[in-house]
Amino acid sequence: MTAVVDVVAMACLLAGAFLCLTAGLGLVRFPDVLSRMHAGTKPQVLGVLLVMVGAAIRLHGWSNVWMLLLVAAFQLLTAPVSAHMISRVAYRRRHVRRDLLLVDEFDADQQQSGDAPADAGPEPPATAGRG
């Protein structure tokens, strides 16, 4: 019984570690920020979940299991937020290879008004119309 459990835990750990290696390879090989982020996010969700499952199987005691579950929940909650912010700034600072994009919905030619950026510094104080 314990042998089977250990084999399952080791399989989860190996899959997670393999995802870490693929993230490193993708970071080195891919051409621009968005595709590098695509590669780097692989271990952020699936890899961390697999490693946490493996560690929770190997470690005994509920306190460790709850803490590992907390780490997994943090990863699931925070990975989309940080990826969204980084990719938006990357697009607007033109760190994106536009010739590699198939669909570019933010393209200025197809869009009537520029999207109002949310975090581009404070607005200049509106003096007109205030008298």
Binding site: A17, A23, L27, V33, G47, L59
Partner: protein, 109 residues
Amino acid sequence: MTVVTYVLYGLIGGGALLALVRLAWGPSLLDRVVATDTLLVIISAGLAVYAALERDPTVVPVLVVVSLLAFVGSVSIARYVGGMLRRSASGDGRDLGLPQAAEEREARS
């Protein structure tokens, strides 16, 4: 079992080394942010693998700290870089004349 141990540490160490390579090369700041984010995730995976292999629960609280630090670091740098964008003076909310990206400069030369 020892073979599995070596393979696990080798895979995680290889991933961390490649992320460090991108951290050193990365032509733009955002590449380095992405590389740092991935590196912290790989570090937390390595700590969890160590805890699982040695059955040592000492490093488990460190995992929580590392996973939170990765989020706070990447979000704060993203907001800082976003604050560097210049706004047009006409007040229509459009961006103009962003600082030239390193990849464009490299592609043009």
